[in-house]
């Protein structure tokens, strides 16, 4: 009866509206996807609570022209993500790339990074994002950052816990212009954050933010929210406001069901606007799917141009296939 229920729900919606719909099996999810394709509606995203059950979000109508919906700095190819490494001083229970102290580092390496960044800048990439793992575990992270910033605006994602000793000296050696740190804080108090990331991690992350601000860096904060936790968003924003971080630099996102995460938002390549991502193992569609073989674009990381071209082409095809579907409810 999925189709009948979808018909009844969507009939009550205007173009662009979304509604949640429960699915009780993988076949029901597939049916929702097929119905949306057939009727010109949109499967916006999927949140699988357990293996085969969950919620899907349905949007009435087709997505508009990507240029009218997606900001220029989010269009495919505008951003390039580099996984500098995969090992980490933490072992967060929702990590989308399953990083931990025991994880194979899979270093991208300064030589590859230099070549990738040069090619990306020539291709038209507008900004770089360095992530891991924990990039501050790399002895040459300051060199990497300077090389990136020399070509493009760069953001470095970190847990902010290693700004001591060598880590602090590496931080201090990084440029202030054209560079930002994005530090993870998941909750307004230590309890939730530490339950996912480890005891004491919240306090050290807050300390890291203050150090980075005192050193004159632009700091963005990112909270990863679990559906099972009280998000306490007002308190979280108040915490960030109190640190002097503007709302535009406060990123709040759900857990992605990737890596070691057992819950969270399930993505398919078709439901993600691509942000080209390079790891030591290949080029991927999006940073939340850097271990996902379905999101693998190429095993060959250099030259990068063919992968950037391919992602752009695939996205254009994906968008047009959605927009080619017919509309539903041909009525008066």
């Amino acid at each position: 009866m999925v189709v009948m229920a979808l018909m009844r729900i969507v009939e009550q919606m205007a173009e662009g509206d979304t509604a949640e719909f429960s699915v009780a099996s993988a076949s029901e999810l597939d049916l929702v996807r097929r119905w949306c394709e057939k009727t010109g509606n949109t499967l916006v995203n999927t949140l699988m609570v357990e293996q085969d059950t969950g919620q899907v979000t349905i949007g009435r109508g087709r997505p508009r022209n990507p240029g009218s919906m997606i900001p220029a700095d989010r269009m495919p190819g505008a951003r390039l993500w580099l996984y500098t490494n995969f090992h980490c001083n933490l072992a967060c229970d929702y990590c989308c790339v399953a990083s931990s102290p025991k994880t194979d580092p899979r270093l991208l390496g300064i030589d590859n990074i230099l070549a990738l960044v040069a090619e990306a800048a020539d291709w038209g990439v507008r900004s770089l994002y360095l992530t891991g793992g924990e990039p501050f575990l790399l002895p040459d992270i300051d060199v990497i950052v300077r090389a990136c910033v020399d070509r493009l605006p760069t953001t470095l994602l970190t847990n902010g816990m290693l700004f001591r000793g060598q880590g602090l000296r590496k931080l201090q050696a990084m440029p202030r212009e054209g560079f930002a740190l994005q530090i993870s804080v998941d909750s307004p108090t230590a309890e939730v954050h530490d339950s996912h990331r480890g005891a004491g991690s919240w306090k050290r992350a807050l300390s890291g933010i203050r150090i980075a601000l005192d050193e004159g860096f632009t700091v963005r904060v990112a909270a990863t929210i679990s559906a099972n936790d009280d998000p306490a968003l007002d308190e979280l924003h108040a915490l960030f406001d109190g640190l002097g971080i503007p709302r535009s630099d406060q990123v709040i996102r759900p857990i992605a069901r990737q890596g070691v995460a057992e819950e969270g938002v399930a993505f398919a390549r078709e439901s993600l606007i691509p942000e080209v991502t390079v790891t030591a193992k290949g080029v991927y569609w999006h940073p939340v799917a850097a271990l996902d073989e379905n999101a693998l674009v190429s095993r060959q990381i250099l030259p990068l141009t063919p992968s950037l071209d391919r992602v752009s082409d695939l996205f254009a095809q994906q968008w047009s296939s959605v927009t080619a579907a017919s509309a539903m409810f041909a009525c008066a």
């Binding site: 009866m1 189709v3 009948m4 018909m7 009844r8 009939e11 009550q12 919606m13 205007a14 173009e15 662009g16 509206d17 049916l31 097929r34 119905w35 057939k38 009727t39 010109g40 009435r60 109508g61 087709r62 508009r64 022209n65 017919s326 509309a327 539903m328 409810f329 041909a330 009525c331 008066a332």
Partner: protein, 274 residues
């Protein structure tokens, strides 16, 4: 009736779903030109829409087939059909039964419990009985179950047709009469395999129609109709409107497609003022 110079043409329609608003905003934007500028007014039901057309509150009504027929009957024919969707020119009713019923044609429907949509739905209530009768079925003695779920909307919501299908799926009815668009939007059986199958399908007939009174000057409606017919599927901005409204091309009126409905109204004594 004559229009004030420069005043926008007013088109009336029925708000049967929230999606009507973006549809008409898109159409209004398309007509944003000094010679064809228009605005729209939404009514809660087709009775009010036809009344408003006759009262001169609106210049053109976007009528269902029943609303068009009522406008004709209430004005003694003093209306002008302007344009319709290509999909309106080849509408039909599909009779569905549970899969593997083995039934085929009106003879098999005659002895079954028939689920119909809202009484004012031409495609899901009035015309199904007309075409069954024309095929020799004694509809006056059929077991009929009506789902008047969206009275006033002339079946536009599709709700009453879904109710009729649900009755078949639940075993409370044997056959459901629905419009071809709902059948297509539930996947013609592809998305519900093993659940439903078509038993019979009527001949094609005409559905919705842009309708004016015959007093609306040609100088007023002609540029508007010409621009309407010029909407092009190959132009992305036009295609969005066409897709939302469920057509690929606007076409000239196919008035012969209403013969069955006028006959049905006479046979069934359908009230002329819902």
């Amino acid at each position: 009736m004559s229009k004030l110079v420069g005043a926008p043409l007013l088109v009336g329609a029925v708000a049967y779903t929230p999606n009507v608003v973006p549809i008409w905003e898109g159409i209004r934007e398309y007509f944003d030109d000094p010679s064809t500028t228009m605005d729209f007014v939404l009514f809660s039901n087709y009775g009010r829409l036809v009344d408003a057309l006759q009262a001169g509150m609106i210049d053109i009504a976007w009528n269902t087939n029943l609303a068009y027929a009522r406008a004709v009957l209430q004005t003694d024919g003093h209306v002008r059909a302007l344009a319709m969707r290509d999909t309106d020119a080849k509408f039909s009713t599909v009779f569905l039964a549970a899969a593997e019923s083995g039934w085929s044609g009106p003879g098999d429907i005659a002895t079954r419990r028939l689920a119909l949509g809202s009484a004012d739905s031409a495609h899901a209530a009035i015309l199904p009985l007309h075409y069954l009768r024309a095929a020799g079925v004694d509809v006056d003695h059929m077991h009929i179950q009506r789902f008047n779920s969206d009275i006033g909307k002339h079946g536009d919501t599709g709700r009453s047709e879904l109710d009729a299908i649900d009755a078949v799926l639940a075993g409370d009815a044997d056959v459901a009469a629905i419009g071809i668009t709902v059948w297509e939007n539930i996947g013609r059986g592809d998305l519900m395999p093993g659940m439903l199958e078509p038993v019979w399908q009527t001949e094609t007939y005409s559905h919705c129609m842009f309708t004016a009174l015959d007093t609306l000057p040609e100088s007023v409606y002609a540029p508007w109709v010409a621009k309407l017919l010029a909407m092009d599927w190959e132009v992305p901005a036009h295609r969005r409107i066409l897709e939302l409204e469920g057509l690929t091309q606007w076409v000239e009126p196919h008035l012969e497609g209403y013969d069955g409905l006028f006959a049905a109204i006479a046979e069934q004594g359908v009230d002329s003022r819902w």
